[in-house]
């Protein structure tokens, strides 16, 4: 037993014991997942009703990919949940938002979500060396996501790379543009009574007003569902997550990526897993190069929520599944390209180490960095794109 265990045997026993009423909590998780899927469907229906066939015109401001990127970044930074934002995007795509407009938004969601662990790292500010390590552990995620955008956004603009891969992955589930998944989609059949019961009365208020209200109800439901799913899964899965992380120790980067993916799937939140890395690095027990693969796995694991959300949407279901697959493809390719190519692999690590050291010396740099990357630069970009 470790020193820590010896000092707190009661706490350790409590942590290892299965949570009381765990079956009730699992039922609650299942209910919340059901609610999440229903909510995404509601957003799709609401968006379709509110925009009619004008979705493309309505989102004309975001046809500039940089604007989409900024919308995704700022929305996720404010909500602090990429799962929520990507689920909303899936719903919007089902309701008619063009996939090409949604792709940069999904990329932006990846950037925005890394604000959470950066804020967590501020908790280590009192000890200079600890803060340098913690801030580096948090910002390595930012730098990886920024580099990923730098590589894949131009490829997307020039060739529609992710859009094509996403379409190819979604097509087998639909068997062609006009075919439907309805024939064998029991998830959609199971959610239909609830979505109809909610959308019926709301849409009777009128296409636009009812549609907008339905979108707002859907967003509120997604926010609540993901929030409570996260809280419950943290309680239920913390023991399992710890086991997975224990197993990955000393087994190299691939095990780190795999365990990051698994833990994020279990707790359904990349912010939770990347935030966990911050104190582990801050204590000095884990080096940045050990934390880094785990963080990359978190990016992949978080895609499960949007895929789940895409299983039961009505409207443009194939496009909804396509954007969910694009999210997954983008994150998997990001890891393969950046971590796979030796000359790119440690660029985020070097940048994060430098920033960590600098911010530890001058704390205001940490604040300037957070405000700059997540709010000021995106706002400037949005302003510039609006002028062009």
């Amino acid at each position: 037993m470790s020193d820590t265990d010896a000092m707190h045997p009661d706490r350790e026993m409590l942590a290892d014991a299965p949570p009381r009423n765990s079956w009730q909590q699992w039922i609650a998780v299942a209910g919340l997942v059901y609610l999440l899927i229903c909510a995404v469907g509601l957003i799709g229906s609401g968006f379709k009703s509110a925009t009619g066939d004008q979705a493309e015109e309505l989102f004309a401001f975001a046809t500039n990919p940089f604007a989409g990127l900024v919308v995704g970044t700022v929305a996720t930074a404010l909500i602090q949940s990429s799962s929520t934002v990507t689920s909303i995007i899936v719903g919007l795509v089902a309701g008619g938002l063009p996939v090409a407009v949604a792709v940069p938004m999904v990329m932006g969601a990846n950037i925005g979500t890394s604000i959470t662990n950066t804020i967590v790292s501020l908790g280590h500010v009192r000890e200079k060396k600890e803060f340098a390590r913690a801030f580096s552990a948090a910002t390595v995620h930012d730098f990886f996501n920024l580099l990923s955008v730098v590589i894949f956004l131009p490829l997307e603009i020039a060739f529609g790379l992710l859009e094509k891969i996403g379409k190819a992955l979604a097509a087998p589930f639909y068997g062609g543009a006009d075919a439907s998944m309805d024939g064998f989609n029991f998830v959609k059949a199971a959610t239909a009574p609830v979505t109809k019961a909610i959308s019926g009365p709301i849409l009777s208020l009128g296409d636009v007003a009812g549609g907008v209200l339905l979108i707002l109800v859907g967003i509120a439901m997604i926010f609540l569902a993901i929030n409570f799913i996260g809280k419950l899964l943290k309680l239920l899965m913390v023991g399992r997550a710890r086991e997975i992380m224990h197993t990955a120790i000393g087994r190299g980067p691939v095990a780190g990526i795999a365990s990051g993916t698994l833990v994020t799937c279990l707790v359904q939140s990349s912010s939770t897993t990347t935030s966990l890395m911050v104190p582990l690095a801050g204590s000095g027990a884990f080096g940045l190069k050990q934390i880094y693969p785990f963080t990359l796995g978190a990016n992949i694991g978080t895609c499960l929520t949007a895929l789940l959300a895409a299983t039961a949407v009505t409207g443009n279901s194939e496009a909804a599944l396509q954007i969910a697959f694009i999210h997954l493809t983008y994150n998997v390719l990001g890891v393969l390209v950046i971590y796979g190519l030796p000359f790119l692999r440690f660029l985020p690590v070097r940048a994060a180490e430098w920033l960590g050291r600098t911010a530890a010396e001058q704390k205001s740099i940490a604040l300037a960095y957070i405000l700059g990357v997540f709010f000021v630069i995106p706002a400037l970009c949005l302003g510039i794109t609006a002028l062009l």
Binding site: L122, A241, I249
Partner: protein, 76 residues
């Protein structure tokens, strides 16, 4: 170092072998200790999860510290 000049080739080879063996054992011991420290840190996962949830308090404390530091540097 100068003693090594007087050693026979066989003795040198033996010493190199011994040193490499010791170095490998030391590296293994270092790795074992690092991994033990990592396992100990992971055992505190619940505690780390609780800390991660105090985002608002973290930001408030950070601002307090930052303004105190800025005031101090302004006075000096």
């Amino acid at each position: 170092m100068s003693d090594h000049r007087n050693l026979t080739r066989e003795k040198l080879a033996h010493l190199i072998g011994e040193t490499e063996q010791t170095l490998s054992e030391l590296k293994q011991e270092m790795e074992r200790r690092d991994e033990a420290a990592q396992h100990r840190e992971l055992d505190r996962l619940e505690e780390h999860l609780d800390h991660a949830e105090n985002g608002l308090r973290t930001v408030r404390d950070f601002f307090r510290l930052l303004t105190a530091e800025l005031r101090k540097s302004g006075q000096s």
